[in-house]
């Protein structure tokens, strides 16, 4: 059987009348009418994404201003030119993904799950190329300190982002939570790159990059919790 024949069968089935009880439609229209008032549409997705990028930048810079800019001061021009533009692009992608997840029917350029993979791999690749010191002095203690600082800065980013997008409606809470967690994690990583002057390759690759998947996982978990407890 050819595709065209299947098309014809489906078309024939689609043309069969499908009536809905008129009383039901009147009831629906009536209930809508009883609470109908003008509403202000959401701003465009790019504007929301721009707002999220600003929040991310503000949290990262404010955090580094409090803890010190030792990291960015000790990076070479080449290292700065590679790390920060890459972070900027990833932050924009994550912001666009999160904003898109809160507007039903948005065009999805990259899924939050793919973005998590891309962000982690890109940063791991950049760090692997730039940092060649493979010593592991105080690996765990310094690592945990960086991871905690990164995650602590992810929290205000996520909260401020949620406030910005609170009028949106996420049809998939897990995906929205994942996108939010990735963006918040990227804000944490940006703060760490501005602040942390420990350029040992394994430290940066593991403890800095880990903020993103952990942030994403926590966001997805919150989204899943919201779904499973709603109603």
């Amino acid at each position: 059987m050819k595709d065209r024949e299947i098309d014809d069968i489906l078309k024939q089935a689609a043309q069969a009348p499908h009536d809905v009880d008129p009383a039901l439609l009147d009831r629906i229209a009536g209930s809508i009418g009883s609470t109908l008032r003008p509403v202000r549409p959401l701003p465009p997705a790019w504007l929301l994404a721009g707002g999220l990028v600003l929040i991310c930048g503000a949290v990262a810079v404010a955090g580094a201003a409090r803890l010190g800019f030792a990291g960015v001061r000790n990076l070479s021009t080449w290292e700065r030119a590679l790390i920060f533009p890459a972070l900027g692009i990833l932050i924009w992608l994550a912001a666009a993904a999160w904003a898109g997840e809160t507007i039903p029917g948005s065009r999805r350029r990259v899924s939050p799950a793919s973005l998590l993979g891309v962000a982690s791999v890109v940063l791991l690749g950049i760090f692997a190329v730039l940092f060649r010191d493979y010593h592991t002095d105080h690996f765990v203690s310094r690592g945990v300190a960086c991871l905690s600082a990164g995650l602590l800065h992810a929290v205000p980013t996520a909260i401020a982002g949620w406030l910005l997008l609170r009028r949106g409606f996420a049809v998939n809470s897990v995906a929205a939570g994942l996108a939010a967690g990735i963006l918040a994690g990227l804000a944490g990583v940006a703060m760490l790159e501005l602040h942390c002057a420990n350029f040992q390759a394994l430290h940066v690759m593991l403890w800095h990059t880990a903020v993103i998947p952990i942030g994403g996982a926590l966001g997805a978990l919150l989204g899943w919790r919201r779904d499973s407890t709603s109603g």
Partner: protein, 179 residues
């Protein structure tokens, strides 16, 4: 004005608080939504409930529609959410028996020659849930690949792949039904 352009105008007027536009949307879009729920293995009664719930949610989040954007992906994205939420709640409140009662009816083998007088729910019964919804949106609601991708939060490539697999299964099923 194209039908989609007309829907966009009605949506904008609905956002502005125009009751006539809201009523027109309810009457124009409800049969599509109702069929969407029926095709997804819901009984007519369940589809009625899902339809009401969907309009309630559409009304709550009508501000999330952006003027100039296609209405159908926005609408179907919300309808999908309601359907998933409905089944999640149903399974949580141990309504498992009820859904099992509905399944055999929808998944019943095709009557001989059913392809000549096809019933949509029966026709799409052998497909997976995601394949059914893609075929429903593409072939019944008349949405484009891009619009289906938007409604299902996936890529155009993924929609094409699901449609292709759905056609393969339908081909097997129809060949069996016709023999």
């Amino acid at each position: 004005m194209s039908p989609d352009g007309d829907l966009e105008t009605l949506m904008v007027r609905y956002q502005q608080g125009d009751f006539a536009a809201a009523t027109a949307l309810v009457h124009r879009l409800s049969p599509r939504l109702h069929r969407f729920f029926v095709v997804q293995f819901a009984s007519r009664g369940a589809a009625d409930d899902l339809l009401q719930e969907t309009w309630l949610r559409i009304h709550e989040v009508r501000h999330t529609y952006r003027a100039g954007q296609p209405v159908l992906p926005w609408l179907y994205a919300i309808a999908r959410h309601i359907r998933v939420d409905h089944y999640r709640k149903a399974s949580r409140t141990s309504a498992r028996e009820a859904s099992l009662e509905e399944l055999p009816e929808a998944a019943a083998p095709p009557r001989p020659g059913f392809a000549r007088t096809p019933d949509m729910a029966e026709l799409l019964a052998p497909l997976s849930e995601s394949q059914r919804e893609v075929i429903e949106m593409l072939k019944i609601a008349g949405m484009s690949l891009e619009e289906v991708a938007r409604a299902t939060s996936s890529s155009v490539g993924s929609v094409k792949q699901k449609a292709h697999r759905a056609y393969e299964r339908l081909r097997e099923r129809l060949a069996g039904g016709l023999s």
